[in-house]
Structures are given as structure tokens and as C-alpha cells.
């Protein structure tokens, strides 16, 4: 009763899919985030790759990429965000750990301790020096993206927190009190 009387806040027709709910419905946010997304992802990869010599690395790159995706979730809603980047983030996180772990194995094959580094003798153009630590860092990058994004999606898709399609449920207390 209380809920129905309230006018829906900011619910302008959006470009997100029907029955999807942006967390904050704003044309400016949508436009900016659409433009920013590829840039942020590129930046995150740049951060990842330059990490060995300059500030950056897998953690920072992963967090950057995750914030780019979370920006999509906030601006367009989880369904649209999933459609734009159709990735299973749980699997991505698991794969990241696996991918990070396997690059410790080549050393063992050679009879050295696990995770002893191997490097290619010559740098690869555009990537830089390539070695097992860099590949391991990619595993870190993927894990961080997967974990962070998946937690955000889990929270946003939690029906108690965000019952579709309404954006903000009236607080439980007022219902009890009425």
C-alpha cells in the first residue's frame, strides 16, 4: 500500500532490456559507461602487462577490469551486463587459480622447485618480456576479475536485496509497523 503510492524514482525508459533494473537510472551514466567500458578494459590489460616494470600488475589490472564491468551493472542492470560480456565469472575465477598454478609446473619438469621462473630470451613486441611470472600474473588478473564481478552479480541478483523489477523495496520495518 505504502509502496504503490510512491512514484517510481528516476524510472525513465531506459535502453536496458525489459525486466532488467539499472541500479541508478541515468542517461549520462549510461552514455559514459558505454564509452568507458572498452577503454577501461584496455587500460586494465595495459596495467597488467606493464606491471613487471612500472606500477600495475595482476591485482590492480583485475580490479580495474572488475570496476569496468560493475559500472555496466550499475548503469544497465545485471542482465544487460551479462549480455554485453557473456562470461561465467565463477568459472573465470576458478580458471584463474588453475592458470596461475600450472605455470609453476614447468620448473618441476626441469627438476627445479615449483614456481621457479622461466623467461623467454627475447622480449615479444607489444607484450614485453614473457616468462612464467607474467603468465602467473595473468592467472591473478583473471581470478580477481572473476571473484569481484561475481560477488557484485550475486548481490545484485539477490532477490531479497533487489526484487525485480522494482528498484528499491520499501524497508521491511515499515511493513511490519503498518
Amino acid at each position: 500500500m505504502h509502496r504503490n503510492e510512491l512514484p517510481p524514482p528516476n524510472r525513465l525508459p531506459s535502453r536496458s532490456t525489459p525486466r532488467d533494473s539499472a541500479l541508478y537510472d541515468s542517461l549520462i551514466l549510461r552514455t559514459v559507461s558505454r564509452l568507458m567500458m572498452p577503454l577501461l578494459l584496455l587500460l586494465s590489460i595495459y596495467m597488467l602487462l606493464r606491471g613487471h616494470n612500472l606500477p600495475g600488475g595482476g591485482f590492480i589490472g583485475g580490479l580495474l577490469a572488475a570496476s569496468a564491468i560493475i559500472l555496466q551493472i550499475v548503469a544497465f542492470g545485471p542482465k544487460t551486463a551479462r549480455r554485453i560480456l557473456p562470461v561465467n565469472y565463477l568459472l573465470l575465477a576458478a580458471f584463474g587459480v588453475f592458470f596461475g598454478a600450472i605455470w609453476g609446473l614447468p620448473a618441476m619438469v626441469a627438476g627445479l622447485p615449483y614456481m621457479q621462473a622461466f623467461w623467454l630470451p627475447e622480449p615479444i613486441p607489444g607484450v614485453g618480456k614473457l616468462g612464467t611470472p607474467v603468465l602467473f600474473d595473468i592467472g591473478v588478473y583473471l581470478t580477481v576479475i572473476g571473484v569481484t564481478t561475481k560477488i557484485a552479480l550475486l548481490l545484485v541478483e539477490e532477490p531479497i536485496l533487489f526484487p525485480l523489477p522494482a528498484m528499491k523495496p520499501s524497508p521491511v520495518e515499515t511493513e511490519d509497523g503498518a
Binding site: 584463474g96 600474473d137 548481490l155
Partner: protein
Amino acid sequence: MLYPLVLIALAAAPFALVARFAGRDRIAWGLALIPLAIFGLTLAQAGPVWEGGQVVERIAWVPALGLNLSFTLDGLSLLFALIITGIGTLIVGYAGHYLANDSGLGRFLAYMMLFMGAMLGLVLAGNVLTMFVFWELTSVTSYLLIGYKHDYADARRGALHSLLVTAGGGLALLVGLLLLGQAAGSYELSDILAAGDVLRAHALYPAAVILILLGCFTKSAQIPFHFWLPGAMQAPTPASAFLHSATMVKAGVYLMARLSPALGGTALWDVTLAVVGGATMTFAAIVAMRQFDLKAMLAYTTISMLGALTMQIGLGGKYGAEGVATNILAHALYKSALFMLAGVIDHECGTRDLRRLGGLRAYMPQTMVVTALALLSFGGIPVMFGFVAKELMLEAALETDLGATLSLLAVAAIAVTAVAYLVTGWRLFSNTFLGQRSMAAMQQHITDPTPGMLIGPGVPAVLSLLIPLAFLGPISGLIGPASAAIYGKPLEVKLALWHGVNTALLVSLGAIAVGAGLARFGEQLANLRGWPAWSRGDMIFDRLIERTLAGATALTRTIQEGRLRRYILLTALAMLVFVGVPFVSFGLGEIRFSLDPQLQFYEILAAALIPIGVIATINARTRLGAIIAVSVVGAMVALLFVLFSAPDLSLTQLLIEVLSTVFLLLVFSVLPVRFENFSAAWVRRRDAIVASLVGIMMTGLVLATATNDAFAPLAPFFLENSLEKGKGANVVNVILVDFRGFDTLGEITVLFIALLGIYGLLRLRQGKDDVAPERVTTAEPAAEPVDTQR
């Protein structure tokens, strides 16, 4: 090459699973070729052992921990290995007949092979840590075998008891072995055995002995841990015959015998073993006499014999060592035969209750003859192998160094046990084969089993007669090196049936006479008012398990009662007690604090904004306000990182700050905009005090670690080696992915596990909502009958 012996048995396990598809008894006998082959391979390598030497083999496994996969074949190992594989051959073949109609035969045989490999590893291990690994494997495989009929509650209970008791003892043993290794300076058995004098004088000696004996006593079912063995009789009979009479339960005896040259010779070791062993032997023999279940009867006589072996190790001396070796072999032969025969009777008659059996002599003559042979050896009747073994046991008691009192007590205990064995044996035989044909025998057509099934019990039973008559010479060659290993010095052994008229013979004959007299009254003895139920011990153990679980539940309810505030409070208090108190007691002096004179005003400003942000957070009226105030703190920390040249940390901090603000907004969006106060004033005051104390403690800790120079700083190493060895100029990242890459791997694993936790928390709770209605509907009809009964 000793390790292939173990490897073959372990590798055979998967192949055993084919028994599901092929002709069952034939495939079992085919599989029996595997233990037979190991038997042959062991003999083929035993050359040096006959001359009193040993075969040693060492493979580095984890050299840093002193953990070698080393194997040793000496007299004692050889005796055990031959028993394991020899009896194993017969039992695997026998199992094919016994479980011919059981769909799980393949699984059963696979467990048996695994067990055999573990047991071989245990007796061949030349390193106590290697041995411990196999020791635990035998506990696990035994658990699987006892619980084989897992749809029976009794089988599950028996399996659980045996696992809890033996694995619990295993924990004590592990600590004991570690102490032993510390004291001896090596985990290699050969080093430990050579360090006997050092060990006995070492401060750790009493603790090590007590812990090791705990492990041995639980494994070998000595009082008061004996109760798990009768419960283990829930295992299919072939497993009982193999594990719980011939092999596994003797692991404890094996270890005690193995270590006695190094640890024995002190009152602690000798008297404990003699007394506990003697008590177990006598008590279990008397209890066995009064059983009505064939297998329970055999189980108690097994406990009794394990006690006898333990006692002989304690009694020590030349005869003690000889007696242990001889009795192990004699017991393995007649007891495995008896167990397999109990299985035959159970299989043919459908019961093994003595009150329902009887008069089988007309229907199962072959079985009767074999049983008679095995029982004669069990009763220690002259010319049987059991008699030879018993004479040595009496000699050990008469010749012991432990004093006249213990010697006399031991002789008396052996005499009482011998009498009880005779009564038990007679009761078993007469109630099964003699007398009236029972109801059970009336109801079905009963015959001797197929010859194949009698091979299993037949071979060891016949050997019990043939060895003393014809093969005492070659067997002495096997017993000799084994006794020498127990004695710790070379030993000349010549087993003989006839030692002339001596005290041992007289005691033995006296016991036989009394036993023969009492045997007539066997049933009256069995029906005397029983021991109180608690004497079995398993009820007490059940109660103990219940209490432990209830205690754990109560503790969990107190600590984890479900409110986040409580968790935080308890965690903070625990930190104050376990970190704060030691820090205040020992660490305060480590703080060397002085203000840097070059501190800039903007650095002070950034630092000052942090407490201001904290205070603003605490005092915020709305949730949004609190989030913003918290992010001020984060932003200032990031700024400080920039000022103190840590760009990587600063970047990470900023990104984390952004993301946690988003997460907080997501979660808080369903909560009321404003904070409400529900806590009482004193609760808030308490929380404030605890929080402040934790804050002060952490500040102190950080100051102490940052200003402490007790350890050489690591930074120069990383700075010097980052570019050269890590091939990167960004030292922070090189540390993360290379120098300390293993830590990072651990961190991302933790991150992923945290995600799984959150996933479970949110998704499972959603699932629960769907299931809940169903639960209600199923619960209702069940509730009704209870009400009507009331």
C-alpha cells in the same frame, strides 16, 4: 628391490574390481596369485636374512624432513611379510567362495589388496615416518572392510569404533615417533635401533614410550582399548580372518617387538608391557570362554593372544623373543583357519550361534576334521605347533629378569589362559559338531562346502600339525632371524617338540588336565551370571562419543550464535587475549618511536584526516554518510601511500576503496536510510572499549614491527635482485609474482574460496526457500501417529 612388493599389492586393487564381471570363485583364485607372487618374490630376496643380515633400500622422498621411503627386510619383516602374503593368498581365494553371491565382491577384494599393500609397507618400512603412513593406511582400509556391509547399523558402528580408536591411537603414535626421532636424531629405523642407550637416557624417553605404547595398545586391542575388536567382527569373515586375527591387529605387536631392542630394558617399558599384556591375555581368555557367537569367541581369543604377545615382549630375554616370533606364526596359522571355518559354518548353516548349531559331524565331516586340527593347535595340545609356542611362552615367563613375583604371576596367568582356551575350544567343537542335530541343521540341506572353500582353512590347519612333526628345522631358520631382531642380538634358535621334563612342560600338562576336567562344565561356566555390561567397554565408548558431540554442539552454539556483532566481539576479545597480552608482557620495549623532523605539513594533514574520518563514521546519522566518511579514510590512506612513494599500494587501495563503496551501497540499499539505536548504553560502551583496545594494540604492534631491527631487513635483497633475477624493475610486482609467488597463489586461492563461501551463502539460502514448503508437507503426516499414541 623391496618397494615393488608393496606397489604390486596396491596396484592390484583396481584389477580386483573385475571380479564383478567374471566367474567369481575362479577370478578370486586368479587374484590370489598376486599375493602368492609377492610371497615368492619376498622369499627370493631373503637370501641375506637367513644369515642374520638384512636387505636395505632407500629412496629420498622429502629429504628436508628426514622422510625417506626406505625399506628394510630383516628377520622380523620377513616373518610378517610371509604371513601376510601366505595367509593373504588363501584368504583371497576363500573370499571368492564366501562372497560368491555378493555383488560387492570386486570392491571387497580391492579393499583387501589395498590393505595387503599397506600392511606390507608397514612391516617393510625402514623409516618410522614411512611406517606411520602405512600404519594409518591399514586403519583406513580396515574401516572400509568392517563397514563393508554399510547398510547395517552394527557394521557402521563397528567400523566407526575401530577407526576412532585406532586412528586416535595413531595420533598418539605419530607424536611418539616424532619424539623418538628427535631423541635419536634420525627417523631411520636402523639409526634408532643403534641409539638404544642414548634413547633410554634421553629426557624425552618416557613421553615417547607412553605415546608409542598408546598407539600400539589401541591397534593391538589391549585393555582398555580391547572393545573395538569384537565390534570389528561385523566385517565379512574373510576380512576378520585376515585383518583381525592374522595381520593388522598384530601391527601394534610388530612395532613393540621392532622397537624393544631400542626402548626395552627399562621398568617403564618391560613392566607396562608385561602387566597390560598379561591382564589382557587372561581377561579376554575368560570372556572368550563364555561367548555364544563363534566369531565373538574367536575375537576374544585373538585379543587374548595379542595380550600374550605383548606380555612376552615385556618379559623379554631370549625365550621372550623366541616366544613372540613363534607364537605370531602359530597363532596366524590356527586362528586364520578357525576364522575361515567359522565362515564356512556360517555360510552353510546360516548361523554362527552355538545355541543353534550342533550335530554337524554327520553332515560336514571334512570341516570337522580341519576344525579339530586347528583347535588342537589353539589349545596347545602336544605335537601341535601351538604347543611348541606355548612352551616357549612359559619359558619366557620362568626365565624373565623382571623378578620372582612377576614371573610367578605370568606363569599363573598363562596357566589360567591355557585352561580357558581348552574350555573355549571344547565348547566350540562340541556345540558345533557333536550332540543333537539342531533346529538350524534340520531346516536345510547341509553338506561340506566345495573343496575350494576348504583349501583356505585346510592349509594352515594342516601346517599346524606338519610344522612340528616335519619342518621344525626350516621353520627355526625363519624364527631365528626374527627372534634376533626382537632380541637385538644374534640368536641361535632350534625349535624342538621335546625339551625333556621341565617346569614348563609340567605347568602345561597340569593346565591341560584341569582344562579337560573343566571342559565338561563349559556350558555351566558360560551361563554363569555374566560380567556387567560396562566391562565390554563399547557402551562407554558410545557414551563418550555422544558426550563429545554434545559438548562440541554446545560450544558451537555459544561461540557461533549467528549474530555478526557477537562474532566481531569474540574475535576482537580473542585477539586482545592471545596477541595483546603477550605483546604487553614482552613486546612493549620493542617500540622505538621518534618523529621524523622532515615531516611535511601536507603529510600531517593527510594523516590527521584519517582519525577525523573515523570519528565521522562513528557519528554518522545516515548510512550514506557513514559510507562516505569511511571512504575518506581509505582515500587518505591511499594518499599517504603516494606521499611515501608506494604507487602500487596506492593504486590498489584506491580501486579497493571504489569497489567496497559500491558493495556497501548495494548491501545498504535495503536497510533503512538512518541508523537506529537498538543496543543498550552499556553494550555500546563495552564495544567502544573493546574496539579502542584493539586499535591501540594494533598501533603498538605496527610501531613495534616497523621500528624493530631484530631481524635483517629484507628490502635490500629484493631491491638488489629484482631486476637481475626477477627480470622486472617494479620490485613490488616482482615480489608478488616471483619471489613470493607461492604466497600470491595462496592468496588467489583464498579469494576464490571466499567467493565460493559467498556464493553458497546467497544461493543456498535462495534454494532453501524453494524446499521449505515440501519439508512442511512431509513432516506433517509423520507427526500425527506420535500424537495418537499419546
